[in-house]
């Protein structure tokens, strides 16, 4: 059981290629981290996997538990178990957080099935408490006027409620203060388990102190160029990306 990304090439529709033959396998039950310089294609990878209409896939496949999801609409991919915590969560005016999450859960039920309101609010409040999100946020419009950190917490709340089988967290740590980072990391850790594979995109080792990854990958120029254990994150923190670029240049010229 895994999310397999095989030889993925993707570009902005009618524009430049951003992902250039990317290979990656995220196993259920494991946490993978991706690090990489700005503009290397990390967010693009997360959006291409989830079906953002700005991008077109020119080659390769993405298999979710063996099923190629590239032909599916974004919502079908989501209902198949894919979740993306956005680097920049979107504001939806007028739609309350509670109604939004409820509608998302309702969309996963069959025709004629109705979400039980009492159970729903019970679950919602429990997860909000874990993430120390005040109750007032249920009535506020989705992400509207939320601080950067509040938006990130709200992404993790949605993930907790929707219980995906594969989750991509795109810089969920950025914008969080130190206390919030601990709370959010605890929230993510609580969701770790055999039923979920996670891909955590981050720039900072700090997050990985709290959410210890099983594997760390480096993404440069639209490809995974290096894969190692958690110690790789420390190395990157200490040395930056130049040494990887140099290694790449050497292997290319060799």
């Amino acid at each position: 059981m895994s999310l397999v990304i095989h030889n993925l090439h993707a570009r902005v529709v009618g524009g430049q290629e951003i992902l250039r033959g990317l290979n990656l396998e995220i196993q259920k039950g494991r946490v993978h981290a991706i690090m990489g310089p700005n503009g290397s294609g990390k967010s693009t990878l997360s959006k291409v996997i989830s079906g953002h209409p700005d991008y077109e896939v020119t080659a390769g496949e993405v298999l979710l538990d063996g099923v190629n999801i590239l032909g599916l609409e974004p919502d079908a991919r989501a209902r198949a178990g894919l979740f993306l915590a956005f680097q920049y969560p979107v504001e939806i005016p007028g739609v309350s957080n509670a109604n939004f999450i409820r509608a998302a859960l309702q969309a996963r039920l069959g025709e004629g099935e109705e979400l039980d309101a009492v159970d729903y609010y019970g679950d919602l409040y429990k997860e909000m408490d874990k993430l120390e999100i005040p109750r007032a946020f249920t009535a506020r419009s989705v992400n509207e006027g939320f601080s950067g950190g509040e938006k990130k917490r709200n992404e993790v709340l949605q993930m907790a409620m929707l219980k995906p089988s594969y989750a991509i967290l795109d810089e969920t740590d950025s914008g969080l203060d130190i206390d919030a980072l601990k709370i959010v990391a605890a929230g993510v850790n609580a969701q770790r388990g055999p039923g979920i594979g996670m891909l955590v995109i981050t720039h900072y080792q700090r997050l990985l102190d709290y959410i210890t990854p099983d594997v760390v990958h480096v993404l440069v120029g639209g490809r995974i160029v290096h894969t190692a254990g958690p110690e790789l994150a420390y190395e990157l923190e200490a040395k930056g990306y130049d040494w990887i670029r140099e290694e790449l240049a050497e292997s290319a010229s060799a």
Binding site: P74, D75, F86, V90, P93, V95, F100
Partner: protein
């Protein structure tokens, strides 16, 4: 609990799209002439003053040009000669659903009207083509002196009140379509609420068009006497025909000193209906009139509910929601005519344009120079769903005099691809995502509605959005 309500007051357009074979005992024939008017007056056995009123109105109608210079050219597609102006089986509605002819009864049952009546209404009038077929009110209200009947009955049974107010708020010559209505009007409600009586539950009228090539011209007159309160709700549907159907109503409200009238409309005509309606109220001293107007259906709607703020401290309000889908033009707005000191008016309009749909807001606020302490607030927000959608705003605000204040805000926003993607990533289909955005956009206004109607409105929006996404 909410689903229960939905299934019972579900009047979406697909459900309204059915019709029974026509059988009309009274038929004024096709086309419009003075003979048509005599036919209607004869059938209704009307007094001479009304007959004359109708004939004069026809002349005014014929002499007035179509307002295509400022409104839509689509008006030219109305062929007045092809329309039937009066179709009915009887002139008197029954007070019991059991006495309503089977087909007609089945129509209203399919639309859920008798059920709503049992659940939350103080009275119901059901109009089928030109006449009310059913009209009833809780007995207690009758005992308090409340009158709630069809306009035909109102004219016959309460001439002293009827004649005093009829045509006083909206003169025949107000516009071409008010003249047309004045010539051939039939049906609509006549309501009188005596001083101090507060009608707790809403009175409802349901207007149903069944016949093809037909025009419905109901005439509603509501008088709330001093210190009284009433809420009136109207709904409407018609089957979708290939040919155009015309609906042209005139609604006059009179709120006497300290009275309160709320008038709620959920307009869901099929997409072949020209809906050209004139609605206006007079608010006397310290009276309050609130129009809550939702336009979801029709091909072209032109409707600008107004309040003439005639007495000191009178209040007028228009809350309007318009949804224009492909092939629809919702040309709506509000008129606030301040005619006394310390009068206040509030207009909040939200429109949604989908696909090639077009929404137009026309507002008129008039505060003359000699008045003091008047206030108007106008907000109009438009939401565009696609890049082909269209919205126009024409506010005309004439505020003179120093001690008066006016506030005007307008916004146009678009549902962004990023919002849709975000919602889809959470598992909502594109249509569900759109619905949620649209409902979010109108949410604060929908809260002003009686619960039963807000549920219905939400459901109608969902259906529109479902139909609009491929």
């Amino acid at each position: 609990m909410s689903t229960e309500v939905i299934s019972q007051i579900d009047v979406d357009r697909t459900r309204g799209d059915f019709h029974y074979p026509e059988q009309h005992t009274f038929d004024a024939g096709t086309g419009l002439s003075h003979a048509t008017i005599d036919y209607i007056s004869d059938v209704k056995n009307e007094p001479d003053w009304i007959r004359e009123f109708r004939h004069k109105a026809l002349d005014v109608f014929l002499s007035k040009p179509m307002p295509t210079n400022w409104a839509s050219k689509d008006l030219e597609n109305i062929v007045f000669e092809n329309i039937r102006y009066y179709l009915a089986n009887a002139q008197r509605p029954t007070r019991s659903w059991d006495e309503v002819p089977d087909d007609v009864k089945r129509t209203f049952e399919r639309l859920g009207i008798p059920e709503q009546e049992r659940k939350f209404l103080a009275g119901v009038e059901a109009q089928f083509d030109s006449e009310a077929v059913y009209s009833n009110m809780k007995k207690a209200l009758g005992d308090e002196g409340v009158i709630f009947v069809g306009s035909t009955d109102g004219l016959r049974d309460h001439p002293e009140i009827f004649k005093k107010w009829f045509g006083r708020v909206i003169p025949t010559g107000d516009n071409k379509f008010s003249a047309l209505n004045s010539a051939v009007f039939s049906g609509g409600s006549f309501i009188y609420v005596p001083p101090g009586v507060k009608v707790k539950h809403p009175l409802q009228a349901y207007f149903r068009i069944n016949a093809e090539n037909f025009g419905q011209f109901e005439r509603t007159l509501i008088i709330a006497d001093e210190g009284s309160e009433v809420m009136y709700m109207e709904g409407c549907t018609a089957p979708k025909f290939e040919t155009a159907t015309l609906h042209s109503a005139v609604v006059e409200l009179v709120a006497l000193k300290g009275a309160k009238i709320q008038y709620v409309t959920v307009q869901n005509w099929s997409a072949n209906v020209f809906n050209l309606v004139t609605k206006r109220a007079v608010a006397h001293e310290e009276a309050e009139v609130k129009w809550i107007d939702c336009n979801i259906g029709s091909r072209l709607t032109m409707k600008y509910p107004g309040v003439i703020l005639k007495g000191r401290k009178a209040r007028g309000e228009v809350i309007s929601i318009a949804l224009a889908n492909n092939g629809q033009h919702q040309d709506t707005g509000a008129k606030m005519i301040h005619a006394a000191d310390e009068t206040t008016s509030n207009v909040i309009s939200k429109s949604i344009s989908i696909g090639q749909g077009r929404a137009t807001y026309r507002g008129q606020v008039h505060i003359p120079k000699h008045l003091k302490g008047c206030k108007n607030n106008t907000e109009c927000d438009a939401l565009l769903i696609n890049s082909t959608s269209r919205t126009d705003t024409y506010p005309a605000i004439t505020v003179r005099g120093l001690g008066n204040s006016v506030q005007h805000e307008a916004s146009v926003s678009q549902v962004s691809a990023e919002q849709i993607f975000y919602m889809q990533q959470r598992g909502l289909t594109e249509a569900q995502a759109m619905s949620l955005s649209v409902n979010g956009f109108v949410n604060d206004l929908v809260r002003e509605f009686p619960m039963e109607y807000s549920v219905e409105l939400k459901r109608l929006i969902d259906l529109e959005m479902e139909g609009s996404v491929g």
